[in-house]
């Protein structure tokens, strides 16, 4: 089995299933060889990681947020460190939807044959609908993840994900633009994440991704200014994982939709814990940035841990709490 993983996720998944640890998951009709995908914004469009390992090991790839127009993003510094995590204030830097469709997706497809999840961000209901409508024509995109939760833009972003009525309206508008599986990515910076998830369900979402970053802040004692140029930046990393676990569990009990669990995942054990909280699949975020080999490592470890823990199939542990 050890050799199989170096080349091909479905073959590895099948071998693992035969060995008594079936890690395959079905997400709204999309077959994933394993539940592990890199989170949007930590993986670019895959090309940096392609130099390090075979992308075909991954369950799916979530591409960096794309917007209709190219964006430079926020001023530097955009990164700060903290205990067990990091802050970022990138501000949705991306080359714009035309470049994404004509260059980035075809280039990714050359090197990766599994499902591509397109993460979309915009600044108005109409903008989201237009972007999803354009992207819907690409056969290479299997699924959408709509980012209504970016903490680092001044208009739109997480304010959409904090208002149930607006979240529902954006979901409905995107729904009209595509028949592909539609996941809404939620912000944790709300009083009740279940209310937002229910609103997305009412708007016609097929699933919920959660969580995005927490709004946070670090100050440099010498300059007496925030370390990031933006006063508030998004906290990610293992520091947020227990909160993500709780929020995934709340949403799991509030809606009937599948959930992609996100927040501080670094190991196969973290994956199993998130699935026990209610997730159908998971995304690995900032862990990719500090250990670019973390996703294939998790995928290699997962069946071993399943066997050790007596888990033959991920469905049997989903939402056990």
């Amino acid at each position: 089995m050890a050799e199989t993983i170096k080349t091909n996720a479905p073959a590895w998944a099948e071998a693992s299933a035969m060995a008594g640890a079936d890690m395959r998951v079905n997400l709204c009709g999309i077959e994933l060889a394993n539940p592990v995908m890199p989170a949007s914004g930590t993986f670019g469009y895959g090309m940096e990681y392609r130099e390090l390992y075979d992308l075909n090991l991954l369950g799916a790839i979530v591409t960096k947020s794309v917007t209709l127009e190219p964006r430079y993003g926020n001023e530097l510094p955009r990164i700060a460190e903290c205990t067990s995590g990091m802050l970022n204030s990138i501000g949705l830097q991306n080359p714009g939807i035309e470049h994404y469709m004509s260059e980035d997706i075809p280039m990714l497809r050359k090197h990766y044959h599994g499902p591509i999840v397109s993460n979309v961000s915009e600044f108005s209901v109409e903008g989201y609908a237009e972007a999803v409508g354009k992207l819907n024509s690409l056969d290479d995109i299997s699924m959408f993840e709509i980012n209504i939760s970016c903490p680092n833009v001044h208009h739109g972003g997480s304010s959409f994900g904090a208002d149930p009525a607006l979240a529902e309206e954006i979901t409905r508008a995107c729904r009209k633009s595509t028949d592909k599986p539609l996941f809404m990515k939620l912000t944790p910076n709300v009083t009740s994440i279940s209310e937002i998830a229910k609103a997305c369900e009412a708007g016609g979402a097929d699933g919920i991704s959660l969580i995005n970053n927490f709004k946070a802040m670090r100050i440099d004692l010498k300059t007496r200014k925030t370390i990031t140029s933006e006063k508030y930046a998004g906290l990610s990393g293992p520091a947020i994982r227990p909160i993500a676990m709780r929020m995934v569990n709340e949403v799991y009990h509030a809606v009937k939709l599948p959930i992609i669990g996100i927040g501080g995942i670094q190991t196969a054990d973290d994956v199993l814990e998130m699935i026990m909280a209610g997730a159908s699949a998971i995304e690995v975020g900032s862990a990719n940035l500090i250990d670019p080999w973390v996703c294939p490592q998790i995928i290699e470890d997962l069946p071993k841990r399943m066997v050790e823990l007596g888990i033959t199939n991920l469905n049997e542990i989903r939402g056990v709490v």
Binding site: T42, F43, E48, R78, A80, E81, T83, M86, L289, I290
Partner: protein, 243 residues
């Protein structure tokens, strides 16, 4: 998964707060002077980007300054201990493009990459004018190593304690071609005195290999990542007023 790990061969102080660490790793991926390594530090979430001083196929040297908790932990590591590493990060100096007689200008902790660059130029039979800037003579390091390979060295100290008093920008009125590495303020001041060249920028980084967009700068050719398209850029494309 085969991750990259480096084993420390030596780690010693060269001057106040300046340390030299030599490491070995199975696959050392450096291909140009001016590239950097991302070094993992126990107990710190992000890796530290540190430019490479010299390298060969299985061994490399970094010279770093203790500026915070991460580099402090690094400075107390011992030979035989291992660190997580990613070698060969970023774009280094294009040695072929550097003409004979170019200036190499560096200040403070920007000096180490110039040793590897100077040696690469010597290999190509090219001469260079080396300009090194320090705060004071107490901060001197690598001087002997440079003297062994370069006969034309101009050393300046900000406090005048040794060599000429002044900054690297005081060393010459104008240069056709220069390679530079140092603080952003130094590079900005140097920009107007140099017609063409390759300047190495620094930035606070997240990943160090181009994934997070944490270190993107504006250039005349669009946004570029200091960790991927840089840290060494053709200085003509940098929008210096925006740095």
């Amino acid at each position: 998964m085969d991750r990259e790990v480096s084993r420390i061969i030596e780690n010693r102080q060269l001057a106040g707060g300046i340390y030299k660490m030599t490491l070995e790793t199975k696959e050392c991926k450096f291909s140009r002077p001016g590239q950097f390594a991302m070094i993992g530090v126990e107990g710190k979430f992000l890796r530290r980007p540190i430019s490479v001083c010299e390298y060969d196929s299985d061994r490399y040297t970094i010279i770093y300054k203790v500026v915070g908790e991460g580099t402090d932990i690094l400075s107390r590591m011992l030979p035989g201990e291992k660190v997580n590493s990613i070698t060969g990060c970023g774009n280094g100096y294009d040695v072929d493009a550097i003409p004979d007689g170019a200036y190499l200008v560096a200040g403070g902790i920007g000096i180490p990459p110039m040793l590897g660059l100077m040696k690469a130029l010597v290999m190509q039979g090219k001469n260079a004018n080396l300009v090194l800037g320090f705060n004071s003579k107490n901060d001197f390091f690598l001087i002997e190593e440079f003297r062994n390979i370069c006969g034309n060295i101009d050393i300046l100290t900000a406090d005048g304690s040794n060599g000429r008093k002044g900054f690297v920008t005081d060393a010459f009125a104008h240069a056709d071609y220069a390679c530079a590495c140092g603080p952003t303020g130094m590079l900005k001041a140097l920009d107007s005195k140099v017609s063409r060249g390759q300047f190495s920028l620094e930035a606070r980084m997240g990943c160090g290999f181009g994934a997070c967009m944490g270190c993107s700068i504006n250039t005349l050719e669009g946004p570029m990542r200091v960790c991927k398209e840089g840290p060494v850029f053709d200085k003509e494309i940098i929008e210096w007023q925006k740095l």
